[in-house]
Symmetry: C2
Subunit: 269 residues, 2 copies
Amino acid sequence: MCKLHINLYLYIMDNKKQYTELLVDPSSFLPGVSIDCVVIGFDLTELNILLLQLKKHDLWMLPGGFIHLNEDMDQAATRILEERTGIKLPYLKQFHTFGDVNRRENTKFPGVNHMLGEPFEKMIAFLEKRFISSGYLSLVDIRNCAPTPDAMSDECTWIPVNLLPVLLYDHGDIVKKAMEQLRSRINYMPVGISLMPEKFTMKEFQTLYEKILNKSLDRGNFQKKMLKLEFLVRHEKKLSGGAHKAPYLYSFNKNRYNELVEKGIGYIN
Amino acid sequence: MCKLHINLYLYIMDNKKQYTELLVDPSSFLPGVSIDCVVIGFDLTELNILLLQLKKHDLWMLPGGFIHLNEDMDQAATRILEERTGIKLPYLKQFHTFGDVNRRENTKFPGVNHMLGEPFEKMIAFLEKRFISSGYLSLVDIRNCAPTPDAMSDECTWIPVNLLPVLLYDHGDIVKKAMEQLRSRINYMPVGISLMPEKFTMKEFQTLYEKILNKSLDRGNFQKKMLKLEFLVRHEKKLSGGAHKAPYLYSFNKNRYNELVEKGIGYIN
DNA sequence: ACAAAAGTGTTATCCTTACACCCATGT
DNA sequence: ACATGGGTGTAAGGATAACACTTTTGT
């Protein structure tokens, strides 16, 4: 069964962290429903996912939370994400709801049997019940992001997708499904505008696609295809990148780009 | 607010229908979570959706239900669908979870203020709470299907998608989202095997695609494309279809078809 | 001058599209 | 025989994939 609350308690007591957030009356939340966010960022080299860590137990999890009774589910996801990243209105879409009975038992907590103090009782009763969880996929510019741990964790950091640790519960499955979604719907998601910095080279843009699709693409064909779509604005050259021809910098024509994404920007092959 | 229970009560009392199902102890269900199924069938002419009707109020709704505490969400959807159609293991996939606060207020019930009898109290308390609902899309062979009304409704019938009545709550939105999903992911869904009868003509198969994509396709090109994929088995000709050349009948090579669907059968343009 | 990587060009091949043509069938 | 719709063919245009060529940079 769920031993999250036990670790919470131990953690809080050990670290004397403010824990008022955890004393929130859970009756203001929809019972049995949570939200987990797969937040993806790109550092021009690798795709990264935002994870929370309970250091004491070397336990990693996705940022998530609950839905207030007077709050739409999408609003809740936006709120939760803003709390963890400081970013308002990023690309954020629900991609799947996870409802297996045993979804919390894939990865067990390093359980310590301890009874909890009285002030937590309501929260415990709330957390102990079966939960289904809606997964939300978000694409954010890693450079605009201020990762902030929540009341339950002491780290909030970017981890490369190919170096993911074992995650809490079924969070590994949730990430996997999110990545599949990203791959198969890349043409219909604003991956460029959401994940790239203001200005970038064509190489960097191509690397983004290669990391998402998990295969290498032909340099010349990628360049020609993207340029022909006419959503890129060419700027001055970027000098001193090495002993070779300097690449141009590009930015997005946002109107044109968003139009195209609606219809699907072709780069699945 | 939700007045479903009131209508239920009136309906049951009026019709003296068996209502033991409604006295089920709702504490065996996950609270606040429901399932709604968009079941699609094809009669070789039109796409149809399976709907339930409360005749007395001329009120239509999607088949749906709740999730038992010891049941995976996908299992629940399968069970619910089997109860309404008699079909086991059809194509059935969750496509979106609807979680707006006001999702039940789009279409109001024709509300009658009435107090309910004691035996229903628990069910009422259960139903009155806010619900989120997971939408499942199912593709079934309309000829293998035995539509069966549930305890709350007195009709369960196929309605053509282009003649849908106003639906309960946000069920209209749910259908819309399902149809969008069907259209945009047609290449990755086994629409052929799931929706066509054992044997069919190329014209009928093309009509299926035209109804899903909502546009007409070139006859010759459709035929060549599908034949080149080599998942169709050609049989004897179908005679006496009219004063013209008799069309061949086809069936699916199921292994080959399912392989291709995994990778995506191309017919989005 | 040279290596390295960027930008562009070339070619063969395939796919798509729009139509045309001939064929089989029941009246 | 003939109208009707089925099966197949064709040709233009576009997209894709693989690779070659040229240009620009810092050392």
